[in-house]
Amino acid sequence: MNFLSKFNWIRHGLLTIGIMIVGTVIVAALTAPIISPYSPYDLDVTMMLQAPSADHWLGTDELGRDVLSRTIFASQISIQVALVAVSVGVIGGTIIGVLAAYFGGVTDLILMRLMELLFSFPAILLAIVLMASLGTSILNAMIAIGIIFIPGFARLARATTVEAMQQQYIEAARSVGMSHSRILIIEIMPNVITPLLVEAAVAFAYAVLLESALSFLGLGAQPPEPSWGNMLNTGRGFMAQAPWLSIMPGMALFFCVLGFNLLGDGLRDMLDPHLRD
């Protein structure tokens, strides 16, 4: 434990706040059934659109469901989507990036041109088009967002791999007759991890943002599943009578995205000092 005690929490302020926020969100997601006052699904039509009150801290929605509980449960979907999407992005991206760098030549050119092309699409447009073909559901949202992340991670993995390959020991390993795959896994993978970790945190934030945007457009998580995106979408319809429907879920979404951004920035500061400005 001496690492934690020795670690200078103040100097890495960003990281500390980041970890705290992300920690709260994950804990909320895991203990949602315990900590939320009501189930996100049970409704009471007579209690429709109630303002925040003692028994409903964040008020009720258009079917009388408790907004606080739904906001807490919505964190589950966001974390799930972010987890799957980022892993799709990381795995897909790393494979493509490392292969492109390792084999170079034509494969590198083709793969990277493709990545560049995917990069030039606005993310949401690509997500929408992918959702069009996959169909609108949470799982498809995850895959679509994951695919959007692949170019970013591919570019990163390729850059780090090229850098790693320049080191002599790769030549040495190859001369010793190590097979391509062993070299990739043992030599190159370790030092690709650090920058990927940083990038993954920021990608997490972006995944949560993208998923909620898709749900806001009615394409991601479908009602009655609680997700910040579709809660905000419903809120839009009751702006005049029930403004809290549009504020509270948005606050939680902002809070979660901020947490992951800070985590990313903090990690970058700590792990790659020379990247620090």
Binding site: L219, R236, A240
Partner: protein
Amino acid sequence: MSKRENDQSNFANLNRRHFLGGTATTALMVASLGVAVDGFTSSALSAPKRGGVLKAAFAADPAGFDPVRGPSGMSHVVIEQVYSTLMALDADAKPYPELAESFQMSDDGLQYTFKLRSGVKFHNGDELTAEDVKFSFDRLRAKDSGYSYTAQVETIDSVDVVDKLTVKFKLSKVTGPFLVYMAFPGSSIVPKKLVESGHDLNAKPIGSGPFKFVSYEPRSAIKFERNENYFQEGKPFFDAMEYRIIPDITALTNAVASGEVNFSNEIPAKDWASIKANPALATQTLEGSRYYWVIPNNTKKPLDNPKVRQAIGLAVDRSAIVAGAFFGQATAIRGGVIPKWNWGYADINYFGEKSEVAKAKALLAEAGFPNGFETSITMASSFPPMMAMAPIIQANLAAIGIKAKIDSMEVPRYWDEIWGPSKFDMTAMYWLSPLADPDDFVTNNYKRGMAVNVQKSGSPELDAILDAAKQATTQDARKELYKKMQQMSLDEMGIIPLVNGHLLIAHSKKLQGYVPMRTGFLKTLKDSWFEG
């Protein structure tokens, strides 16, 4: 609740039928039919004034303006302004002669002869004659016409021109709602010479109706101008009309509230309270002809057992659906699907106001499922009322032991994967009957083999009653048969009726003399005017 309402109108199958032999009623009959109309001053007092532009707000885009190819509700609301039909429907969907000055029906009910008004001109100046009438209907009856409402014209054997202003229809079978069919936008009279010269009515409609078509800008507006030589003297009163297309329902409410538009009959239920409270607006609401129902898949165990379906029907809390999904703007259906205002109404009290858990549980036990079963409800995600009622139904079913999972998908996939191939345990849908003829309320859903009967319910006996009711000669006979049919439908419970939606209409206080139509059509706009 998604913001797209535009699917609901281009989905509805609109066909027009009315009770045979209704006496002609004047269009301006003051509403005395139990219509909860507030802020509506009786029109007979102040004389109508010319001028002004009516701007109406709608949620969906039209799909073409050729009567033979108008599948969506939004198309019909345009077609009925530009073309005219032999008959027309008044506020309560009773047919009265429009293009036809008079009509005779043969005793055996198989021949109708219409005497046309003389001097009626199309918008391009051609004179409207019997030739045009024959051409219009032959066009609908042609094999490859692609007409969506062939059911209305399949009983027509032939259409003969007797003389320039007289045309005779010969029918193969007695068709109760024939006159109502004659008032349906699909049965509009088109200019024969013009269409034969290759003019595309779909892009630029030319008819003899009260308004001339000016332009259509996709997803934004359809513009009309007054038809100076409309055959009804002095009408229409507006100089021009504009249909504004606002897909987002909240934006539609804001447009009406802000005065950007001065009329709409598609006010979303969620905003009805705020619109009613708006001093600048006059509001009218009446029970319409759009009813919602739950569809249990009659081929799937255990939903194939009528007792199980009845249990579900009894378990549903219709008052909660009215409040939660319609914000109070709907009427719970207590028995048959034909609404109270229609002559085909059968006063049956089968369903309770609230959910009847005890009765439902008993029925379930009888059916052999004392502690319920697992099932699923699949909904189309861009219909706000469906998405709102799904959790309510889920809760009601849970109360009697049925665990129902809700899943939803966006409309296009829903049609293809769920609706078309009937791949669902339970789903829900709504039906808009523009003809307000009892037949139109029931046949499409209850008769076997119909495109809409996706739950595969029905029986030979039910089909027999439906056909008999359609072909009975007198209204009383049809009324009796429809009563029997509705009772039978409740025993079978092929589909589970829920609620009947209300038409929510709001317009500027300056608009006078507007009598809303139950069917949601806007033919009576030509009789209204702007006061000062």
